[in-house]
């Protein structure tokens, strides 16, 4: 029973984790670099949602939309003005730049809000118990929201013209530009959507606990693990990877203390890179 409960928790946590992991992998697919600034955008989203929720008194779903939009706009601007100019100097420079960016943005949040933990304004509800399995209503709502967001994203990518353009650029930028797709516009759109997803994921993961400026950095290893395990650059891979990491982190509780949750992500990365570097659904890793 305990194992079942852990698997259930893991699936729910994994679905929430899939949201920022998709953001990371989408940036990698289109812009071809690992954007470590994802961490601070998760934090920014969490705090934007916090303001919308506590200061303006919005319910959770509109607050999540605020988290998406604010993190998305900052993600688009930071890519446009900070990271894009660095990409010409190569991947090492861009990766280091994105680390510096994430520390700068995280500290802007710290400057404004301080280090103390904050909680969202949520109604208190009793956990549901269904045939011995315990589910908190908040977790369940998070699960539903994450599923809806991921479904909307898949629909966008496969049904709309813009979504197809994005996939085309990810697939073969040269061919896409010959076909007349404006790759700069696609890059902007990817930055906006991906960082928006990061912000939304940051708020979702903060909903059933508390938030502080480090909320993004604490989760970033799990997000990277999800993307790498699923295959960096593959969006369905990010979902699969997130579920694997979510369940893995929960199952690790059988043998390890909760503090080691994030270390599970690291072990998963090492294992995948040793035995199947391209990940479960990825194309290539070199």
């Amino acid at each position: 029973m305990e194992v079942l409960q852990l698997i259930l928790n893991g699936l729910m946590a994994g679905t929430v984790l899939a949201v920022p992991a998709i953001g990371l992998t989408a940036i990698f697919a289109v812009l071809r670099f690992t954007n470590f600034a994802l961490a601070s955008h998760m934090t920014i989203g969490a705090f934007a949602g916090f303001i919308a929720n506590t200061t303006f008194g919005l319910p959770i779903v509109p607050a999540l939309a605020a988290a998406f939009v604010v993190a998305g706009i900052i993600g688009w601007m930071s890519d446009e003005f900070v990271l894009r100019p660095l990409r010409a100097s190569g991947f090492v420079t861009t990766a280091i730049g994105s680390i510096a960016l994430t520390i700068a943005l995280e500290n802007f949040v710290r400057f404004g809000f301080g280090n103390q933990m904050r909680g969202y304004d949520l109604p208190l509800r009793r956990d549901w118990v269904i045939s011995g399995l315990r589910v908190s209503p908040q977790q369940f709502e998070n699960l539903l929201i994450a599923i809806v967001v991921v479904a909307m994203l898949f629909a966008f990518l496969s049904m709309t013209r813009t979504g197809k353009a994005m996939r085309a650029v990810a697939d073969n930028p040269m061919l896409a530009s010959i076909k007349g797709i404006n790759s700069d516009m696609v890059a902007r759109l990817v930055s906006f959507i991906a960082m928006g997803l990061a912000g939304l994921g940051g708020m979702l993961s903060g909903l059933d606990t508390t938030i502080d400026p480090l909320v993004g950095f604490r989760t970033i290893l799990s997000v990277f693990a999800a993307a790498v395990v699923g295959g960096l650059g593959s969006i369905p891979g990010a979902v699969v990877g997130a579920l694997v990491i979510g369940v893995g982190e929960e199952l690790s509780l059988l043998v390890l203390t909760p503090a080691y949750r994030t270390a599970v992500g690291f072990i998963a990365i090492l294992l995948v890179l040793t035995f199947r570097p391209r990940g479960i659904l990825g194309q290539r890793a070199y």
């Binding site: 991947f91 500290n107 400057f111 290893l221 203390t257 994030t262 090492l270």
Partner: protein
């Protein structure tokens, strides 16, 4: 004030050791290492534990710290070096975080978040605090000098040339028959050894280490050192480290005078300044105060046969 300057000198020396090590990995071989603090921590903890709990002599502890950090470097490099650089970035960052988590939670290794205190320093009791700091400054300067000379030789050796070749164009080096993977692993081994050495020295200097000290910010300081001094250049690495310590310490004096700023805000502002400085240097593609010299080996004059055909 003199006390303070001596302590800053030691910090600058330890940063210089790290910058020299990172210069081999990043400046020469063009590889990324975002987990610098992890290797620094491994050096500090290895030496701290061996001298404190097992009574090893300090020199042996430092040597062990250097070696163990290097072994971890080889391990991390072996897993990722064949893959795209992005994976090396992720794995090194994850390594540092995982080290911090382990050290924070395993009480039996090194007291968890309380950290290790009372790490012995050479002649700490006999000399008293002031003379001890001066002595340590001398030790660190000697260490920087030795490492500098060794790395300077390495830079000019065929090994260093191959590393720079890998940085510029891996395929060309491969075509020349060099085992690129082995060279990258070796670059990591040398660089992380220097990081371990600096960590070990740091522990013996302050006598106290804790997981909190090994935050990712240190990685940023060292990158800033290298970029401001001149990437790919050992002199630049040392000069940059001194500059960064000076910059960090001067913000410590200036920020308290900014009115209506809490301590947390001051610290945040400092980190923002560091990050923005780093981004600016990256952005304007500055080559640092002392740019790496290229063209020590002039290209051969084109011979008649290799001249382009005129239409």
């Amino acid at each position: 004030m003199e006390h303070y300057l001596v302590a800053m000198g030691v910090t600058a020396g330890i940063y210089a050791l790290m910058a020299l090590g990172m210069n081999v990995i990043w400046g020469m071989a063009g590889l990324i290492n975002l987990g610098l603090v992890g290797f620094f921590a491994v050096g500090a903890y290895t030496s701290g534990i061996l001298t404190l709990k097992f009574g090893w002599p300090i020199l042996a502890g430092i040597a062990a710290g250097t070696l163990v950090a290097s072994l971890f470097g080889v391990f991390v490099a072996l897993i990722t070096v064949r893959l795209r650089g992005d994976y090396l970035a992720i794995v090194t960052l994850g390594f540092a975080e995982t080290m911090r988590i382990i050290m924070s939670n395993e009480l039996w290794i090194a007291n968890g978040t309380d950290g290790l205190s009372g790490i012995p320093g050479p002649f700490r009791q006999a000399l008293g605090p002031h003379a001890f700091n001066l002595q340590f400054l001398a030790i660190v300067i000697v260490a920087v000098a030795i490492l500098f000379v060794l790395l300077q030789r390495l830079t000019r050796s065929p090994f260093g040339r191959v590393l720079r070749g890998i940085r510029e164009d891996e395929q060309v080096v491969q075509v020349a028959g060099k085992n690129v993977v082995m060279f990258k692993v070796k670059a990591f081994a040398v660089g992380t050894a220097a990081l371990g050495l600096s960590g070990a020295l740091y522990g013996h200097f302050t006598s106290y280490i804790a997981p909190d000290l090994f935050a990712p910010l240190l990685t940023l300081y060292i990158k800033l050192s290298l970029l401001s001094g001149g990437l790919g250049n050992n002199v630049g690495a040392v000069v940059g480290a001194v500059l960064v310590v000076f910059f960090l310490e001067s913000t410590r004096f200036v920020i308290p005078y900014v009115p209506e700023l809490s301590a947390v805000q001051g610290a945040a502002l400092r980190e923002i300044l560091i990050a923005v400085a780093l981004l600016l240097i990256l952005r304007i593609r500055a080559r640092g105060l002392i740019p790496e010299k290229v063209g020590d080996f002039p290209l051969p004059e084109p011979t008649r046969a290799s001249q382009p055909l005129k239409p």
